[in-house]
Amino acid sequence: MNARIRGDEGIDEARRSALKLAGGGLAVAFLWTAGMGPAFAQMNPRRQPADEAAAIADGNPPFAPNAFIRIDADGSVRLVMPSAEMGQAIYTGISMMLAEELGVGLDQIKVEHSIASDALYGIALLGGGQITGGSTSTRGQWQSLREAGAVAREMLIAAAAAQWQVEPASCSVSRATITHVPSGRTLGYGAVAEAAGKLPQPASVTLKDPKDFTVIGKPLRRVDSPDKVNGGTQFGIDVKVPGMKYAAVRTSPELAGTLGSVDDAKARAIPGVVDVIKIGDAVAVVGEHYWAAQRGLDALEIEWRHGVNEHLDTATLVAALQESSRNGPALVGRKPKGEAAAGGKAVEMTFVTPMLAHAPMEPLNATVHVTPGKCEIWTGTQVPTRAQKEAARICGIPLEAVTVNNQYLGGGFGRRLETDQVEQAVAFAKQVTYPLKVIWSREEDIRHDRVRPLYFDRISATLGDDGKPTSWKHRITSGTVLGRWLPAAMGKDGMDSDAIECAADLPYDMENVLVEWVYHVMPPGLVVGWWRGVGPTHNLFIVESFIDHLAHTAGKDPLAYRRSLMKPGSRPLGVLDLAAEKIGWGSQPLPARVGRGIAVASPFGSHVCAIVEVEVTAQGVLRLRRAVVAVDVGIAINPSSIQAQVQGGVLFGLSAAMFNGITLKDGMIEQSNFHNYRSLRINETPPIEVYTVNSGESPGGLGEVGTAIAAPALANAIFAATSVRLTELPVTRTSLVESAEALKHVATIGSGTGDVA
């Protein structure tokens, strides 16, 4: 099978090799890179030295064939989850992959969070770390987890066959039971677990032909659902440790500002307040419960010290990005082939896309107990081994002295790929003797998010007589997430592959494409981070808005125009056609001020087309009417999860495009909670239909696909409804109104405030 599925031929060889990590066995060994397709075996499914320790720590079960499977003598099957569950149903997907080959029903298994261990659970696709991100979990583990299941199955069969003195080949498995087919004798897995544990591992195993799958491909219920409907699931914030106390924190509201003096007299007088503790840029009040801690925090009189960002605001930042875009230096992400034809119609646009906060429903938190020489952490994290490393550094103790107990994540969206909050909790906890649960308020969560970068884009094309682009130039200007988060993955020339993903690799058949990235150094303290959909979420808004604009400029239907630029038989064309068919594109006229917008792309090794239908009133009120999404994710492991992830991903992207932008004033983030950092609500949510192309290819990524495709489909629908082409997000009502004067009037009589944005 060929991992390379996208038309990246236009990416020059230098770029392609720059995308490879030294020693990576894959075509491209890092996440979010332009050339990455579906992936193959990443984690070793065979028993490894570290397994023994894990099994002993685990209670030394009779049969622990590898890092992922435990079968106890009573027959219970425990599956150890290397990825973090943050809603993306990866526990279910992983369980399905293991169960398929192991021969158990999903109802027969219990899932457990894994320990923090790069040795056992590191994902080569992510540079070897135990990381859940980049839509890599399914891709990274597809082969290895099925093999892990098969290895265990073969050993269990071998043990039963030995007991019966029959040929292993004459035995079959189903629902954790081995049957000797000729005689009809049966043995449960528990009965042979101990014996199986003493057998050597098979040298090779045969994986099922996909046509024989009984688990994979079915719309199965999530394994974590039952506890999530009765309040039983323990998230990080729910952890209870004996003797634990609660901390509320405030970090310098000015980014990179520091803590000056603190008058805590009033705080300490509040019943239930236990302690006031400080670090360089933050102060915490400890209480017997979180309410006392919060009240104590509010009672502090804090003097903050200004830092370098005292006068920083969004307009300054945008202007600085524009300046960098003009002056470069620009790194080339994709070189044009050949010379552009002379003449033609020149079209150019510029875009500004805002910083975004993650705002997962579970506010950031960590519970930390530092004892002499040891540190124990309870938190929900996408990067348990990074948290372990940082804690060891802060406490000055060896890695092995830090235990990370990972928990269910109340949403991640990339925020929990960072360890800043865990680091802060450790720094506070090492000042006290008791276990400390540090919870960020929602205000802290938004004001100290590691935001999606701000981008400035200049994009241009020349159209030939047939209206098709004869040249295409796209210059992206931004800070870098990758360069801070995993500098080793940056190109030799300093290129950030994430910044150009889905800009350099277009689904359109064009030769003369130049894609450049200009690195703009962000001010200290304004840390940019991974945000669901990362580079593609930004680039697709630009690219698909611009293609739509070109279609309009050429006087062509946006669907027909895209089709004319795509290779016949290509996977993105497949999803484009399917989505168009399902929504009935062009079949009947739409009402006035109703429009449909298309966006199509191939992010994260999958292929997706979204068509969004909106209505915009004459007063500029935007209403979502319907969305149809077609995806080709290769082999569909769980169609129910695919539907849920695409629906949720699209809503996450629409929510941001419609409402969200993080802005700065005096060095501080202006937004603070859900009243001024809005989220779509159920009454604003349209029906979202999801259709799947079953292509039989290795699974592509899924968790971010819907998010990445949402904003351009929305923007193009708004254009179709209003002829307003959005070049900035989020959508503002004033930009969509039919008549600004009329709106002013409505606003005056409506609210009396005149505030219409």
């Binding site: 199965l220 409907v229 209870k240 309410w291 006392a292 579970e362 949403g411 989220s679 609500r681 159920i682």
Partner: protein
């Protein structure tokens, strides 16, 4: 010292009278199924019932509860509507990260108790105070209708692991 009637049991808590019910439930009584999401009644994650009415527990001082019955997600399955809602939530497989779902289920249960056959508008009105960042709204709507009618609403039938 306040006495609260929570999930049918009397619970004593030595807390200040202005302490929100949310933190009494979570940090003092130890019922952590009710969630903290925003602290300003914008997200609905902290929704509980007081005498069957949904309220945001992050804004309700514990002293204002009085002798009224508090019901949380941990016990909502003991009410007929709560059990139906939880069953429908599983049948449609609503949850993703699951953090907001306690609040969603409390709001949906209160809706069904007062409006056994809700329209889309009823659902919008009752549920728009509950944010879900994972975006499970399409399935929440399906599940509420399924709970109300007993009929499957989704396009696909979710199966449990025993089918395989």
């Amino acid at each position: 010292m306040v006495t609260l009637r929570v999930n049918g049991e009397d619970r004593q808590a030595d807390v200040p009278p202005d302490m929100p019910l949310l933190w009494v439930l979570r940090d003092v009584i130890g019922l952590t199924g009710t969630k903290f999401g925003c602290g300003i009644a914008q997200c609905g994650a902290c929704t509980v019932h007081i005498d069957g009415q949904p309220i945001r527990s992050c804004q309700m001082p514990v002293s204002a509860v009085g002798d009224r019955a508090v019901t949380t997600i941990e016990a909502i399955g003991n009410t007929p509507e709560g059990a139906k809602v939880q069953q429908a939530w599983l049948a449609v497989d609503v949850v993703q990260c699951g953090y907001c779902q306690s609040g969603q289920i409390m709001s949906a249960t209160a809706l069904l108790a007062r409006t056994p056959n809700p329209t889309d508008r009823d659902i919008d009105a009752a549920m728009s105070g509950n944010i879900c960042r994972c975006g499970t709204y399409v399935r929440i709507r399906e599940a509420i209708k399924q709970a109300a009618t007993g009929q499957p609403q989704g396009l696909q039938v979710i199966v449990d692991g025993s089918a395989a």
